[in-house]
Amino acid sequence: MSDIQIVGAPAGVEGSGFFATSLDKAVGLARANSLWPLPFATSCCGIEFMATMASHYDLSRFGAERLSFSPRQADLLMVMGTIAKKMGPVLRQVYLQMAEPRWVIAVGACASSGGIFDTYSVLQGIDEIIPVDVYVPGCPPRPEAIIDGFMHIQELVKTESTRRRETPEYQKLLASYGIQ
């Protein structure tokens, strides 16, 4: 008897030999359970991510088996660690190279707000240069917290309409970061 669990079907109309649901929900379900994360790990939070990815916590259970080390094939940018101001343009470049739809998670105090490094050389939170979807607090956060943040991303992905990226709100958000 296998104990493999698969994701349940979204809400829809079911009958004998057919199942109908909206395209948004079907696409969202597929996207949310096959996210390709790009780990942008610069310091200790990256070490926690290694534990998250390894067999004990096993992020692959959530469909994120395949880490993408090229931004062009990545869906989720996971920024883990202190981002120095000199690293800022590099991070921004990585974000710009990602194709839509793309999500960003800021893992740990440094990526979220600069953390203890309140100084001239450190970026005070990556949201100064790129939009962020989910923040994970902690210094560093435990793997459970990273997984929790990841599940919040999955929730966002599931409920996001396929047209959201064309909405004026989204365009305005990107424009506020000077991205277009």
Partner: protein
């Protein structure tokens, strides 16, 4: 223990730079001298090429900011005589608003990055340096962060405002 004493080093220097070099002290046995921008190149050149002293290794160039002094920026050179196992420290004080000092890159190629770093953090301009630009900080930075008037904490940060802490 070094092969020559600080006194011998001092006597050697005194043969050429009698009243141009003053002794600041010898904290922890490290002979510390002070000189001026006019003398520094000659002094470094003499220390490096003197067959007795042979201060052939430039350990570091850095600076210190003393806002309460008349000459606010102190440029500090650390030399090491590998042959004699003796070190020496040389200080030159210059005006903080107009900090110019001759480069040491003609004597040591290693001075290149040290001077760029000192320029990056203190704004000291080393005249004659082949490529004096920032080395560690972002290129578009306008301030010199190691000067005392530079705020320690990032002013852009909003989560540390006083009213969050009832101040």
């Amino acid at each position: 223990m070094g092969k020559i004493t600080n006194e011998e080093v001092l006597n050697n220097i005194a043969t050429q730079f009698t009243d141009k070099v003053t002794v600041v002290g010898e904290p922890f046995g490290l002979l510390t001298l002070q000189t001026s921008t006019e003398t520094i190149t000659d002094l470094l050149s003499f220390l490096k090429s003197s067959p007795v002293l042979q201060f052939i290794y430039l350990t570091d160039i850095t600076a210190v900011h003393y806002p309460e002094q008349e000459l606010t920026i102190g440029v500090v050179y650390h030399l090491h005589s590998l042959v004699n196992n003796v070190r020496v420290r040389i200080k030159v004080f210059i005006d903080g608003d107009n900090c110019h000092i001759p480069t040491a890159t003609n004597l040591w190629n290693g001075a290149n990055w040290m001077e760029r770093e000192t320029y990056d953090y203190f704004g000291v301009i080393f005249d004659g340096h082949p490529d004096l630009r920032r080395i560690l900080n972002v290129d578009d930075m306008t301030a010199f962060p190691m000067r005392k008037e530079f705020p320690l904490e990032d002013p852009n940060r909003v989560d540390k405002k006083d009213y969050f802490f009832g101040r």
